[in-house]
């Protein structure tokens, strides 16, 4: 019998320890709780934090105007570091804290991991940035909505542009081996391969954060590609472009929405000139977008960062849906999201039955004189 004691000890310890630390559940006043989940620390924090800011501004405005359904909106912010295993804890924590709706998550992987938990709890989620196609297309995640078009739409547009408008015959596709980057690159590859007028001369992943991209740039040069399609975020991209320019290479560089970020232009500086990117349509003239950016600038002194407007729109859309639905009840909210148009920084939008936004599309830009200029 005694031999079991140690084993029991183990269990017992675990339980006790957790119990000690268990904070009593707080039953808050009557508010609508909006959970915000995403990467707020770690290497991808810069993609998650703007969403938090956006949510704060929108909620502050709405609360100032009397709230939703006469209740104040309360934010519950949780970090998932963009890791699936953390995301499940994050999601459970949000569910346990009694959130009514969720803004997030930021990364597709984390989103996939978390979605089941929200679904089990009957919660609707809206992400500003998770662009993996199967999140909506597979039908596995009925409670998922997003304010950004998925990668497939984008890849198709990109490839069409590169082949038809730029006339590229040989295309090199690079990616950062990440979830988002490789996903986007693989889609682009499919579309290029489907097109008889062009071929993929190189399809490779680079090591994100590497101290030098010289060798891969060399390889691109040798492949004599007319265009490089990049799947990934801007930090690696700008380093690659920089080295390409140093080698005086003439190939077009085409990126996706991971590059459609003011930061890209500012970080890459003159190297960014001439780069093509696909991205959500231009909202810079949208009054709400202008307002949203102003708010951020006023509060933090700088430009908002990635997916800020999408997050802003997502917050508006989901809170509007609650208002319209008259409650936070699952079916009603889903129905409201799909039927009611809402005015957002992205324009007037609603969602299709799969959860993708209608009215949000992609377009091509080129960097000219430090600005993203919308083409055609």
């Amino acid at each position: 019998m005694k031999r079991f004691h140690t084993s029991l000890t183990a269990t017992v310890m675990s339980v006790l320890f957790a119990l000690c630390l268990t904070a009593g559940q707080v039953f808050a006043a009557d508010t609508i709780k909006l959970g915000v989940a995403g990467a707020h620390s770690g290497d991808l924090a810069s993609y998650g934090l703007p969403t938090v800011n956006a949510a704060k501004f929108v909620v502050a405005d709405i609360n100032a105007a009397g709230g939703v359904l006469g209740k104040q909106v309360e934010l519950i912010i949780e970090d998932d570091v963009c890791k699936p295993e953390v995301a499940t804890s994050t999601a459970t924590k949000l569910v346990t804290s009694g959130v009514d709706i969720v803004l997030g998550h930021i990364c597709s992987g984390a989103t996939k991991a978390a979605m089941g938990i929200y679904h089990g709890a009957g919660l609707v989620c809206i992400s500003p940035s998770a662009t993996a196609p199967d999140l909506t297309l597979s039908g596995d995640y009925p409670n998922f909505f997003r304010t950004i078009a998925h990668d497939k739409v984008q890849a198709e547009l990109q490839v069409k542009f590169v082949i038809e408008k730029l006339g590229a015959k040989k295309i090199a596709i690079l990616h950062d081996k990440g979830d988002y980057g490789k996903g986007a690159a693989s889609l682009a590859k499919q579309f290029v391969e489907a097109n008889p007028n062009a071929e993929v001369v190189l399809f490779e992943g680079v090591t994100s954060g590497s101290v030098s991209f010289g060798p891969i740039v060399q390889k691109v040069k040798r492949s004599r590609a007319d265009a490089v399609i990049w799947g990934g975020y801007h930090s690696d991209a700008s380093k690659i472009i920089r080295q390409m320019n140093k080698k005086k290479m003439k190939a077009f560089f085409v990126g996706a929405d991971g590059l459609k970020d003011e930061t890209f232009i500012k970080v890459a500086g003159k190297d960014a000139e001439g780069v093509y990117v696909s991205g959500p349509m231009d909202y810079s003239k949208n009054p709400l977008a202008i307002k949203a950016k102003e708010q951020h600038k006023k509060a933090y002194g700088d430009d908002p960062g990635a997916f800020y407007l999408e997050a802003y729109a997502a917050t508006l859309a989901i809170l509007n849906a609650v208002e319209k639905a008259g409650s936070t009840e699952y079916d009603a909210v889903v129905k409201a999201l799909m039927t009611e148009y809402v005015e957002t920084p992205l324009g007037k939008i609603r969602f299709d039955e799969k959860g993708d936004p209608i009215g949000v599309g992609f377009t091509m830009y080129q960097v000219r004189k430090g600005q993203f200029v919308e083409l055609n």
Binding site: S41, D43, A45, S46, L49, K177, E204, G205, V206, T207, G209, S210, V211, S212, G214, P215, I216, V217, Q218, K219, K221, R222, H234, S235, S238, K239, R242, K246, K247, K248, T263, K266, V267, A268, G269, D271, G305
Partner: protein
């Protein structure tokens, strides 16, 4: 064409390798003297680069001339990186000198996490553009398509620093004291060497090298954030082990071999598996030379 391609890959590998080597030198020195895998070394590299960025930005606003900015930013990077290295040793490693072998390693991992988040919180989570501190030299213009000035600077600096370090360690009194401390700490104390000073000195030197590396690489890459130290640190550590940890020429050779392998693997096979080749090579070399390329293969005394 083929030959030229190889040559270019070779050069690319050389540059990449020198970067690894530069950081690995600091790793290897610290290891050589205190036998500690200083996981926070990558973060010191990052702090050096950040300090340079901050100082350069401030000086730019104040309207200093370019050359002065470069010099002062570089100096500031070295000074503060050394200060951080010194402090990290005092806070996180010195109390653990007599602890079991793995404890300082965990402390180092903790320090690494701490420093990353310290910069994240105090500065920003975003990538920031890093000024081109090293301009394209005019005299080098004709060759710059082969190898750019910043890359050239990295190559040259690595060579100079390696020679300088070798000199310091081989011939100066401090260098000898470092070697003595590395071999037998108690005995070093008994001949009158201040072990604390020697160890601090080692950290200061190692950290300044990290700072030099940080500034050069950041200037070549054109951007930094709080996370750049992690990857650089791991690769440099690999390079140091590959070359024989504790050996100065070993660190350089290890860095070069690593960079070269990655470059050639990328060029001729696929960059998808770049790191796989790098680590596979490491395993292979260690199987045949368990103490690294230039490491002393000490037969254990029985």
């Amino acid at each position: 064409m083929e030959l030229e391609y190889f040559f270019e890959l070779f050069l690319g590998g050389l540059v990449k390798g020198s970067i690894y080597a530069l950081i690995a030198l600091g790793y290897t020195m610290v290891y050589g003297v205190v036998e500690l895998i200083n996981f926070a070394h990558g973060e010191i590299y990052m702090l050096g680069a950040y300090t340079a960025l901050i100082v350069a930005s401030v000086l730019t606003v104040l309207g200093f001339p370019q050359l002065a900015i470069v010099v002062m930013a570089g100096l500031a990077a070295i000074i503060w990186a050394s200060a951080y290295g010194y402090t990290v040793e005092k806070v996180a490693y010195k109390p653990l000198r007599k602890a079991p072998r793995l404890s300082p390693l965990i402390s180092a991992i903790g320090m690494s996490i701490f420093l990353q988040n310290y910069v994240l919180l105090a500065q920003t989570d975003k990538f920031l553009p890093f000024p081109e501190l090293i301009p394209e030299f005019e005299f080098w213009e004709p060759y710059s398509h082969i190898i750019g000035s910043p890359s050239l600077m990295i190559l040259v600096s690595t060579v100079i620093i390696m020679m300088l370090l070798t000199y310091i360690i081989k011939y100066t009194t401090m260098g000898k004291a470092m070697r003595a401390t590395a071999q037998d700490r108690t005995m070093a104390m008994l001949v009158g060497i201040s072990v604390n000073k020697v160890i601090s000195f080692t950290f200061v030197i190692g950290s300044s090298l990290a700072a030099v590396g940080g500034v050069l690489v950041a200037s070549q890459m054109g951007q930094i954030n709080f996370y750049i130290g992690f990857m650089a640190g791991i690769k440099a550590f690999t390079a140091a082990v590959l070359g024989g940890i504790g050996s100065i020429p070993g660190a350089v050779l290890g860095g070069l071999v690593l960079g070269m392998t990655e470059s050639l693997a990328t060029g001729y096979i696929s960059s998808d598996y770049e790191d796989v080749f790098a680590f596979a090579l490491l395993v292979l070399i260690l199987i045949f030379r368990p103490a690294g390329l230039l490491g002393r293969n000490t037969t254990q005394k029985v």
